[in-house]
C-alpha cells in the first residue's frame, strides 16, 4: 500500500514536468484569474438587474424629490427646476392640507400594519402548532389553508369586493338579513368600515404565509426536546409555551419583519379593493403617494413622500434588528 502511494505521489511532478509543463505554465495565471473573478461573474446578472430596476431608479427617485416635477416637465424631467427641500417641507407641513393628509395616511397605515401583522402572525402560528401532530385530513387542511396565499391578489381581492357590496354582497346578507345584527345594510368599501374591510382581506390573504414559515420552522425543532419534556411530565400546553414558542424565536424575528415591510408597502390589496380613490379611513400610504403622484401629477412631491417612507422603514428595520438581536444574544448568554 505504502509503495503505491509514494509511487503515485512521485509520479505527479514527473508527468507535469514532461508533458503538461510548458502548456500549463502560462495557463496558470488565467486559471487563477478565473478563480478570483468567477464569483463576480456569477453575480453579474443579478447585480446588473438590481442596478437597473432597483438601485438606479432609487437614485433617480431621490433626485426627483428635489425637483419641482409637474406634468409640464414629464417629457424632459432634467429640465424641471430645482426645488431644494421644498417638496419635503410641503410633505411634513402638518398644518397644511398636503402634510395633514400624509400624516393621516401614515397613521392609518401604521395602525393597519400593526393589527394586520399581529393577527397574521397569531393565526398562522396557532394554525401551525395545531397542525404539528398528525390527524385525519391534515394534508387536505394544510393545502386548503394555503389557498388564500396561492390565489393571485386581484382574483382574491375582487371576490372580497363582491362580498362587501352594499346591495348584493354576502357580508350584508349574513349580518343584516340573516343575523339581524345591523339596523340597515352597511357600506363596507366607503366610510369608516373600510378600515375593517381592508384588515379582514389583508389577514385572510396574509396569514397563510406566516403559517407556511412557522410550519417550516417547527420542522427544525429537535424532537428530543419534546420527548425530554414529556418524560419530565410537561403537558401539551406547557410544551407549547416552553419549547415550541421559544424555538420559533429566530424564525419569528425574520417573519415579523418581512410581514411588516410587505404589509406596510402593500399596494395591490387596497388598490384592487377600493380602486384609485381609497376612502379616508383606509388610505394606506402607498396608494396615497400613488394618488398624489398620478392624480395631481406632481411627481416631485410624490417622490419626496416615498423617500420619507423609505427612511422611516430603514429606521424601523434598524431599530428592530438591533433590539431583537440584542434580546437574542442576552437570551443565549
Amino acid at each position: 500500500m505504502a509503495t503505491t502511494v509514494t509511487a503515485k505521489a512521485g509520479a505527479r511532478p514527473v508527468r507535469t514536468g514532461s508533458s503538461g509543463g510548458p502548456v500549463r505554465g502560462p495557463r496558470r495565471p488565467t486559471g487563477w484569474l478565473r478563480r478570483v473573478s468567477l464569483p463576480y461573474l456569477l453575480l453579474l446578472p443579478a447585480l446588473l438587474l438590481e442596478l437597473l430596476v432597483h438601485l438606479v431608479p432609487m437614485v433617480i427617485g431621490v433626485a426627483m424629490s428635489f425637483k419641482e416635477l409637474t406634468q409640464f416637465y414629464i417629457r424632459d424631467w432634467g429640465a424641471a427646476p430645482w426645488a431644494g427641500f421644498g417638496n419635503y417641507r410641503m410633505s411634513v407641513e402638518f398644518d397644511a392640507p398636503v402634510g395633514e393628509a400624509l400624516l393621516h395616511s401614515f397613521l392609518v397605515t401604521v395602525a393597519f400594519t400593526l393589527l394586520s401583522v399581529g393577527l397574521c402572525w397569531l393565526v398562522g402560528t396557532a394554525a401551525a402548532i395545531c397542525m404539528q401532530d398528525t390527524f385525519r385530513g391534515r394534508g387536505l387542511l394544510r393545502a386548503l389553508f394555503l389557498v388564500p396565499y396561492a390565489l393571485p391578489v386581484y382574483a382574491a381581492v375582487i371576490t372580497w369586493v363582491f362580498m362587501f357590496q352594499h346591495d348584493n354582497g354576502l357580508v350584508n346578507h349574513v349580518l343584516h338579513d340573516q343575523l339581524h345584527l345591523t339596523g340597515k345594510p352597511s357600506f363596507w368599501l366607503i366610510g369608516d368600515n373600510s378600515f375593517f374591510a381592508l384588515l379582514t382581506v389583508s389577514v385572510w390573504k396574509g396569514w397563510p404565509f406566516a403559517f407556511l414559515i412557522v410550519m417550516a420552522g417547527l420542522q427544525n425543532v429537535p424532537r428530543e426536546l419534546y420527548e425530554a419534556a414529556a418524560l419530565d411530565g410537561a403537558g401539551t400546553w406547557q410544551q407549547i409555551r416552553r419549547i415550541t414558542l421559544p424555538s420559533l424565536r429566530p424564525v419569528n424575528q425574520v417573519l415579523v419583519l418581512v410581514l411588516f415591510l410587505w404589509t406596510f408597502n402593500d399596494f395591490n390589496t387596497p388598490y384592487v379593493l377600493f380602486g384609485r380613490a381609497a376612502p379616508e379611513a383606509a388610505d394606506l400610504v402607498s396608494v396615497h403617494i400613488y394618488q398624489a403622484s398620478f392624480v395631481s401629477w406632481n411627481f416631485g412631491t410624490g417622490s419626496a413622500m416615498s423617500v420619507l417612507l423609505l427612511l422611516f422603514l430603514l429606521a424601523v428595520t434598524g431599530v428592530y434588528l438591533a433590539l431583537t438581536s440584542r434580546g437574542r444574544r442576552t437570551a443565549d448568554a
Binding site: P45, V56, D133, L151, A155, A156, D167, A216, Y226, L313
Partner: protein
Amino acid sequence: MPDIRRDFRKDSSRDSCKSPMAPPRSFLWTRRIFLTLLTGFVLVPVYVMVSSSLKPLADVTDKFRWLPSDLTIRPYIDIWSTVPLAKYFANSLIVAGAATVCSVVIAVFSAYAVSRYAFRGKRVFTVTVLSTQMFPGILFLLPLFLLYVNIGNATGIALFGSRGGLVLTYLTFSLPFSIWMLIGYFDSVPRDLDEAALVDGCGPLGALFRVVVPAAIPGIVAVAVYAFMTAWGEVLFASVMTNDTTRTLAVGLQGYSTQNDVYWNQIMAASLVVSVPVVAGFLLLQRYLVAGLTAGAVK
C-alpha cells in the same frame, strides 16, 4: 441534504412520536374549534367565487343568495368575449413564465457564488439585495418608467409598454427572496459532493449543474413557484407599464366592471380561471416550498 429530505418526507412519522403522552382534552377541543373556524374563514370567499361563477346574472345583481337559482356555465363562455381574456392570459403566461425562468437561473448563479466562494463584498451584496425588499414599490415606479422610456429613446429597445420590460421588472421582484432561499439551500448540500466533482475534472459550472443543482431541486422548484406567483399576481407595475396589446390579467380583469353593469358572475368565473393554474401548481408543489423554506429561509 439528506437531512432535509428526511425532514419533509417523514414529517408525519416524526410528529406521531413527538409526544408520547396523548394531548389533553382542552387542547384537542381548542384545536378542533379553532381549525373549524379558520376553515370557514378561508373557505367562504372560495365558495363565493365558485358558486357565483355558476349563477345567472340576475342572481348576482339582486340580493346575495347562497345557492344559485339556476346552475349555468354561461359565464364561463361569456368571459372570453366580454374582454379579450385569452390575449391577457397569453400575455400573463409569457411574462410570468419568462420572468420565472430568468429569475431562477440568475438566482442559482448568485446563490452558488455566495454559498461556495469567499470573495470581497459578499456581505455587501447579500445585504443590498435583501434590503431592496423594503423599498416601497411606489418609490421606483415612476423613475423606472422614466428610465425605460429614456432607454427606449436612446437605444430603440422598447422596454416601456413591452412584455420584455415587464419581465425584467418582475424577475427582480422575486430575485432577492430567491437568492436568499437558495443560499441556505445550497449551504445544506455537502461541499464534499461538488469538491469530488471538481476533482473528477468538472469545472465550477459543471459541479454546479451536475451536482449542486440536482441535489437542490426542491429548493429550486420552491423558488420557481414563488417567482411565478409574484409575476402572475402583480398589479401596480402592470397597471402603468402595459398597453392594449401587452396588458396582463392583473389589469385586464378590471375590464368586466367598467360597463354600467358589473358582471359579477363573469368576474368570478374569470377570477377562477386565472387562479386555477397558480393554485393547482402551488398546491402540487407546496411540499417542496415547505422543504425549501425549512432548509433555506428558516434555518
